[in-house]
């Protein structure tokens, strides 16, 4: 599993279990350029042939919900890191 850190001045991120899945709620305190980066993460998962592994929901006021299956959790965290929505990712020991 992974530990991660984010810039609390630009992003508020909250993670909670959702049945057998994991839900991540993101609020962009600074929408630009992070909204664009988040869209790139969404496009990445939209581009494969699975529909429900990572579900993205756009909410009002720059809020986003992501529901991710446990098998794809690491992939999602790494994509958030790759697109600079997270600042640091490390393996949990």
């Amino acid at each position: 599993m992974l530990n991660y850190q984010f810039d609390t001045n630009t992003i508020h991120l909250e993670e909670s279990p959702n049945n057998e899945e994991i839900e991540i709620q993101i609020k962009l305190l600074q929408p630009e350029p992070y909204a664009k980066y988040l869209k790139q993460v969404k496009d990445f998962f939209d581009g494969n042939d699975r529909y429900t592994e990572v579900l993205f929901y756009y909410c009002k006021n720059n809020e986003y919900r992501i529901i991710v299956k446990p098998d794809y959790y690491n992939d999602l965290i790494l994509m958030l890191m790759r697109h600079q929505l997270l600042q640091k990712v490390e393996w949990k020991h």
């Binding site: 049945n19 869209k39 429900t52 579900l55 929901y57 756009y58 909410c59 009002k60 809020e63 529901i67």
Partner: protein, 431 residues
């Protein structure tokens, strides 16, 4: 005689392989087509000039391109979220609205494409409402087959029938099949309402989660969306006018697709769009037309047509009812596309044997019987139509699969009632 037996043998073996669905159906049908050619039953020149129905193939490719480009703009997601919010997350109302949306989409775009668009959105909406997606998926499949019955482009059997009969225009389909499809759709939605209304519940908290969604964020490219909707609208208007313009529906679809590719996309995007065409379906059709061409070449279709006329004593009313029910039952048990591919030359032969033109009003009744039977019969089982197979496999891949029996329990009674209504309609209107 030897050639005839060989052609029938190849056709039946390939048909059996297609029905089992264990192998890629496009590969199997192309293999069968190759064997027909290698065995000397049909020659390549005949295949390309006579047997492959290019109008069907061009219409499918044109619509696939148009819908793929429009989908990238997010407009379909916008529409689905807007629909879900309009019923305030009420699960049974949502089921009815998504089914209605699927039916209308199927009539205007084609049902295979429509279910490919609606299924991912259904997963997304049902997930946020924490409700089982299976009733929604089954209802959408059924609605797609009923909605697709209404127009020339709505369902592959209609595309094939329309392409093989130039006199059966987009408007002819709409006038002759639209009213009955609308009646059957209303009855189907009422049935689905009573089947599922007590099985679906959503908490107030989850309804609120849906209300919080911002559907406007789904729109990703407003200029392209505008262009796509204008071109799609023009294409549909073009379909309604194609007989006046003396242009095939396939040409209208291809013109629309070409225009949108030209004004909406760059070189890289155009290549990506071409790659998204469902070539499996296209090759499947090409192989299938060749296989049926082989049977035509050796005179089998002519013999069957004579047999049907013999058992009905040349009574076309009886033949129409027979075609409706045989098509309905056959399409429920096997994919309706290969069945219709076989039936089209058979009805043409029946017209020839009776010394009638294929566009005679009496023969048109047979075409409407075939369309109603094949499209509505597709709802009988999970294997009945391409849309069913596609949704079932997508659902299974996402761990939300439904069994043959689960679909049968809902689909079979609806199919039976639909065919009875279609039978009454044929009797009142044509016979």
């Amino acid at each position: 005689m030897y050639t005839t037996i060989l052609a029938i043998g190849i056709f039946l073996i390939i048909y059996a392989f297609i029905i089992t669905e264990k192998w890629n159906r496009a590969v199997i049908s192309l293999l069968g087509a190759s064997i027909m050619v290698l065995a000397g039953i049909v020659d390549v020149h005949q295949i390309f000039t006579h047997y492959i129905e290019w109008n069907t193939i061009a219409l499918l490719i044109g619509m696939m391109i148009l819908v793929t480009i429009t989908n990238t703009t997010g407009v379909f997601q916008w529409l689905a979220i807007k629909t879900a919010k309009s019923v305030k997350g009420n699960p049974i109302h949502l089921l009815i609205m998504l089914s209605l949306l699927t039916a209308v989409g199927s009539a205007l775009l084609d049902n295979v494409t429509t279910v490919l668009l609606i299924v991912p959105i259904t997963f997304s909406i049902t997930r946020i409402l924490k409700v089982n997606p299976v009733p929604y998926l089954i209802s959408e499949v059924i609605a797609s087959n009923v909605g697709g019955t209404a127009t020339l482009i709505g369902d592959p059997p209609n595309i094939m029938i329309g392409a093989a009969n130039k006199h059966l225009t987009f408007n002819s389909f709409l006038i002759h099949l639209g009213p009955i499809a609308a009646i059957i759709l209303v009855i189907t939605l009422v049935m689905l309402y009573f089947i599922y209304r007590k099985k679906l519940t959503v908490s107030e908290e989850d309804k609120q989660q849906l209300a919080n969604l911002d559907e406007n964020e789904s729109i990703e490219n407003i200029p392209l969306m505008k262009k796509s909707l204008v071109v799609l609208g023009l294409t549909i208007v073009g379909f309604t006018l194609h007989s006046i313009l003396h242009v095939e529906a396939s040409v209208i679809a291809f013109a629309g697709a070409s225009l949108l590719l030209l004004i909406g996309l760059n070189e890289h995007q155009i290549e990506k769009t071409f790659a998204t065409v469902e070539w499996t379906t296209i090759f499947f059709f090409a192989g299938l037309f060749t296989l049926v061409g082989g049977l035509q070449e050796v005179g089998v279709i002519k013999q069957i047509a004579k047999y049907v006329l013999d058992i009905t004593n040349g009574d076309l009313s009886l033949a129409a009812i027979l075609i409706l029910w045989i098509s309905g039952i056959a399409s429920a048990t096997i994919d309706n596309i290969p069945f219709v591919a076989t039936m089209i030359p058979l009805i043409q032969e029946m017209a020839n044997s009776l010394g009638m033109a294929v566009n005679a009003p009496e023969i048109n009744t047979l075409w409407w019987s075939l369309a109603l039977g094949a499209c509505l019969g597709g709802n009988g089982t999970i294997l009945g139509a391409s849309a069913n197979v596609i949704v079932a496999s997508l659902a299974s891949k996402e761990g939300k699969g439904f069994s043959y029996m689960e679909f049968l329990k809902i689909g079979a009674p609806i199919t039976l009632i639909s065919l009875v209504i279609a039978n009454i309609y044929l009797l009142i209107r044509y016979l």
